[in-house]
């Protein structure tokens, strides 16, 4: 049996699939009866989704123009 604290420490690794089988079983057993840690898992999933969909910064036109100019000049003889 693991404690909430131990389960929470490994939640992202659990979601990443980088825990070993015994750790996974221990976490799933804990989640089967701990409502608060289920909330932790749901929030961890939301936070991961939030990071994955966090809007990329669009490249400004002037930066694109300068970097394209650099490319054109590279080793051009």
């Amino acid at each position: 049996m693991i404690t909430c604290s131990e389960a929470v420490k490994q939640l992202w690794e659990y979601l990443d699939g980088t825990v070993d089988d015994s750790q996974r079983d221990a976490i799933e057993e804990h989640l089967s009866f701990c409502r608060r840690c289920c909330g932790e898992v749901e929030f961890a999933q939301e936070l991961r989704r939030f990071l994955a969909t966090s809007r990329s910064e669009q490249i400004p036109d002037d930066v694109m123009a300068r970097l394209s100019a650099t490319l054109e000049e590279l080793d051009r003889e």
Binding site: S5, V8, K9, W12, E13, D16, T18, R36, G39, E40, F43, A44, E46, L47, R48, F50, L51, A52, S54, R55, S56, E57, Q58, I59, V63, M64, R66, L67, S68, T70, L71, E72, L74, D75, R76, E77
Partner: protein, 206 residues
């Protein structure tokens, strides 16, 4: 006549001149510029454009090492990450002191539930995340030491596998996993601190 390479790039082609090779590099790199710039901004903020410039110069010099066109995004990312790391070292920041014992015990989920910043909300935790715009996320990332920010961005924001990131950073997989663990704990803690210190939750209180 311009020769345009198609994958795999090692296919024999007629007359691979230096100019053909450079033109091929330009075509490939130009397609990647928006993605590289966005990543560099996340990793080194204001120095993002300069880091991409460094990356282009280095990548052209090493273009012969690229084995296939499909590998180009990861290959360019790897070079960019190292350019960003060099810029981080050049900035000679004081090492940021982090109390990992405190961070290890921190749970953003519990903190939000305990502090209850949106008393009338049915979806407290989602409302918290909704307060963060792209600029806020960049600000929070900037508060993380480079060592932890880089794997966090590459895995959870750019979608690279941890094994690929270990290769990019030339670090053992176990080291990358440990840094990821600390990085996302720190990110959660910094999200809360940022929201508190910038008044994000007051502005968002409803």
């Amino acid at each position: 006549m311009r020769v345009v390479l198609v994958a795999p790039m090692r296919e024999p082609i007629a007359e691979v001149t230096t100019e053909n090779r450079n033109e091929d590099f330009r075509t490939l790199a130009r397609e990647q510029l928006p993605r590289l710039y966005s990543l560099a901004r996340r990793l080194v903020g204001e120095e993002g454009e300069d880091a991409v410039q460094d990356c282009l110069l280095k990548a052209l010099q090493r273009f012969h090492q690229l084995e296939s066109r499909a590998a180009a995004p990861a290959w360019l990312t790897s070079i960019l990450v190292n350019c960003c790391r060099d810029r981080g070292r050049a900035r000679a920041r004081q090492p940021q002191e982090v109390d990992f014992d405190e961070v290890e015990e921190f749970s953003l989920y519990r903190k939000i539930a305990d502090e209850d910043p949106f008393p009338y909300s049915d979806s407290l935790h989602l409302d918290f995340l909704d307060e963060f715009g792209a600029e806020d996320v960049r600000e929070v990332l900037a508060r993380l030491p480079d060592l932890y920010r880089t794997p966090l961005v590459l895995v959870y924001m750019e979608g690279f596998a941890t094994k690929e990131v270990a290769k990019m950073l030339d670090a053992p997989l176990g080291t990358v996993l440990a840094r990821l663990h600390r990085g996302r704990k720190l990110f959660e803690k910094q999200m809360w601190d940022y929201a508190e210190t910038t008044g994000l939750l007051r502005e968002g209180a409803r």
